[in-house]
Symmetry: C2
Subunit: 548 residues, 2 copies
């Protein structure tokens, strides 16, 4: 073996990786207390404001072109009486039809960003599949529209009503049903909170094959319904591969028991796949069976600065090759995004100098020494080759969390600075960052981008799950200005469509992107999707006004 | 750390693992030359004979209850003229309608086991998606039934005609279209042979995320159509997770371009999933886009003897925990299966003593030293705990192949001994082997099992992909005896249904299991599947008489 050249200072920082860490963003605690702001806009679809105390505008006002479907019945006392009798307990129903329950219903009517707000007057919380079935049968028979709702953490307005749809909230169906410690198969009710399920699995030495920022609130049923991607996809793959079975209730109340616990089952069309990512438009998922991997004993995080996006791609390729089976995350952040986190948090940056790009690499493996050695060899290699300009490694749990916060804290930091136009897109990796550059140039050319208050746009930044080809393009603004939206749209969608990318990588269509599906799916496919919708929900009562 | 006890002799055999091996069964070369045998039976659905030179019975004779669907037109000279004109070249059509081409058509009419044989008179080999589209449109307009055919390596009669269906063979569409070396995304035509695609990927440092015995003949389009499982599923997951996109032609000739190259794309129902495992009943897959992992630099194989199935489960659990990210196969073989391989091949057994169970463990990783160290620690642990009774490790490529041959050679060895009733089933792991014991006891109680020629059954053995809960139950017979089938069926299917297992883990339904889907899927699901079939192929021209 050739003699290794002198190690750089970076590599001397290498230490034994820590074991059994839990990652958590620490930005929240460090954020200064900004005044709450609400933007008002007639078309605020892509305009994200921070979570605020004030009530948002009604979706029916901000989307005046959406009309209530007159085929749907109005809720009556008689309907409420049926549901009250069915559910038996007062805690399972919030009745704003026969009484004033507006304040109690508000959290179910609005999404967490206060971008979408419905006129729902009845919330039902079934406690069993049988109750879900009876609710839907009755709604289908009586032409009552329904919005299935999990943890209500979505970003695209899919989980709240537009008009007076009944909310069927799954929070009471939150039991772990069984876990097989040999195979790693978990069976649970759809209303289990993701973090709760993961904690349960941790006690068994296993891990839920999905991780995302909203884990403390989101439901696993909702994760399936939206085909959530998140942070572990690079390692464990998508839910289409890990979900073994589901139980789902169709619009007419039919219970489809496909709660298979087997890894292999080639007996007919794999129907469950249709419900993964269907956003509650063809059925309500009531139970989930999923294959869980063993929990890794050791985790490492490294944070790099790189001089160009070409070098980011090189680093990704080397990481895949050299870290191979232990690579569990490869995240990208540009300088713009990091500067904004710094501005908001005032935290010391991980590296001394600034670079156009940063990567966060996480490894998860069964042997801490081996992982450390692999990571060290990788670091030596990429630094020798000049792929990476500088870097640092987490040496303890605090540093591990702190490095992750520079990635996971971006969304929150941007939100605290003002309004944000957010695009969650998939693009072939080699062109991934070009979208940010082209968008920035376009906004700049329109005279909208600058450092001072006269410019509506503060920054155009990019970050995301590099390993999945998933970019979050964020346009941070100082105030609402309709010129910004005109410059951004349909430009961004057209740019993506030209490169056969996806306008929704992991957030779904919901209400926000209903009109834009044509940029990512051809008319033939949309036609087939409509056939599927009509087959499973012929009266169209499930999550109307959205998705297709 | 506690002092390790003295290592057993097994562990002293541990050596540095070899790198970049290709595994191949060597049983074939070592098999004695047995006379070719053909069993005759009126119901030979589950009765597998070895590949033979003689032509098998027609499926229409062995399944007299299946009648040709009179709605389908008979092939005419005019039809042939249309196809000849469309395909342009003589090599793309085998015409048994206007000429005698029986011998040329025979390989397309029969499966490789000669269990199924159709009356097809026309084979078409389109060279492009456009040609597939025009063929299907014409067939749909003229009510001509079609059998899509890949490498024709299936085990359940799905890829050959029953009557005079036109065979659309995909072998001419065999081009690699593109490969992205950063993301690992391969796009290829459906008629690519799996091994060819894997060789191409090997040259790029990648691997096809699927491996199976028929890789030298099977097509990747057929792999998708049958949702093939095979040897790498434990590591890389199912095709539902790794396939990124497909191009498929529907029964009416509509081309569905869902050839997505993105890892994440949440824009509407994931239609491609329906075609994965649909066995050519709702469309013909013409192109495939698939996520390929980096090829591992090092591979190891260990072979163990174990005293009980409880200990096999313990070993599996320990292997998952300790070998974790490098575990790539965990295969199970019982003593009966190994005794038969020994009988046929006369090879020296890997271990000195005999045990009721054997496991083959394979690791694949990026660092040979690390893998070797992990494997050594694992071996020490399971031997200290008394989980494993004895074992051996491959020390070079010859030994690696030789150990794999004791697992991969079972099917072939059994075939050489006579007829075999084969069941490919999924069962929750803790009861996996109970099926073999219960079946053996039942056959024995019926007086059919014994060591001498007076007994029709030679052995009831079990082996399979333990890691996937996938058992191959094989009943080796000396001759056809209808009492055997009566003892086996519906007993086996009922036994599986009671445990919510699957009657088809990875081989599919085809013609063989069409009638038995009810043992693994409830009437609600079968009803929904029929809706899907009617939506995509309303005239029912695609692969009739099979699947549902």
């Amino acid at each position: 073996m050739a003699t290794r050249p002198q190690l750089t200072p970076l590599l001397r920082r290498l230490v034994r990786p820590r074991t059994s860490l839990s990652r958590q963003s620490t930005v929240q605690q460090q954020l200064p207390c900004h005044p709450v702001r609400c933007f008002s806009s007639s078309r605020p679809r892509l305009f994200q404001t921070t979570a605020v105390a004030c009530k948002g505008q009604f979706t029916s006002e901000t989307y005046p072109d959406i009309q209530r479907d007159k085929r749907f019945a109005q809720l009556t006392q008689e309907h409420v009486a049926f549901f009250r009798n069915l559910l038996g307990t007062d805690s399972a129903i919030i009745d704003g039809v026969t009484s004033d329950a507006a304040d109690d219903i508000e959290p179910f009517n609005s999404d967490w960003m206060r971008k979408y707000r419905g006129h729902c007057k009845l919330v039902l919380k079934p406690g069993s599949t049988d109750e879900v079935s009876k609710i839907l049968k009755y709604c289908n028979d009586n032409m009552l529209a329904v919005v299935p709702q999990g943890g209500n953490t979505g970003l695209v307005g899919g989980s709240v009503p537009v008009f007076d749809e009944i909310v069927v909230n799954m929070s009471r169906m939150n039991q772990i049903i069984e876990f097989d410690e040999v195979s790693g198969t978990l069976v649970a009710e759809a209303g289990c909170i993701l973090e709760g399920a993961d904690h349960f699995l941790a006690s068994k030495g296993y891990i839920f094959p999905l991780d995302l920022g909203a884990k403390g609130s989101c439901h696993i049923g909702g994760n399936l319904a939206t085909n959530a991607g998140g942070l572990r996809l690079l390692r464990y793959g998508s839910l289409h591969g890990t979900v073994l079975g589901i139980e789902v209730v169709l619009a007419d109340g039919t219970v489809v028991d496909d709660l298979c616990k087997l890894r292999k089952n080639n007996t007919g069309y794999d129907l469950k796949q249709l419900f993964i990512g269907a956003e509650g438009t063809i059925g309500i998922i009531t139970k989930v069976s999923i294959q869980c991997p063993q929990r890794s004993a050791a985790q490492n995080v490294a944070f790099f600065g790189l001089e160009s996006f070409d070098k980011v791609q090189q680093a990704f390729r080397e990481a895949k090759g050299q870290l191979s089976e232990i690579l569990s995350a490869f995240e990208l952040m540009d300088e713009g995004s990091q500067a904004l986190v710094r501005q908001v948090t005032n935290n010391k940056r991980p590296l001394e100098d600034q670079y156009p790009f940063y990567c966060l690499i996480e490894t998860s493996g069964s042997n801490a020494d081996h992982d450390s050695e692999k990571l060290q060899a990788f670091l030596e290699d990429v630094m020798e080759k000049g792929v990476v300009a500088d870097g640092t490694l987490a040496q303890d749990e605090t540093q591990y969390r702190s490095l992750w916060a520079w990635r996971e804290g971006i969304t929150e930091a941007l939100g605290h600075l003002g309004g944000v136009y957010k695009y969650d897109v998939s693009i072939p990796i080699k062109e991934l960052y070009q979208l940010v550059e082209d968008t920035r140039a376009r906004v700049d050319a329109a005279g909208l981008l600058g450092d001072t208050d006269e410019y509506p746009v503060r920054a155009v930044v990019g970050y995301g799950h590099m390993g999945d080809g998933n970019l979050h393009l964020n346009v941070s603004t100082r105030r609402f200005d309709e010129r910004v939206e005109k410059v951004l749209e349909p430009f961004v969608y057209e740019w993506i469509a030209e490169r056969q990318g996806s306008i929704s990588a992991e957030h779904g269509l919901g209400l926000m992107k209903k009109k834009y599906i044509g940029y990512s799916r051809n008319p033939t496919m949309v036609g087939l999707m409509r056939n599927i919708k009509n087959t499973f929900d012929p009266k169209g009562i499930l999550n109307p006004y959205k998705y297709l």
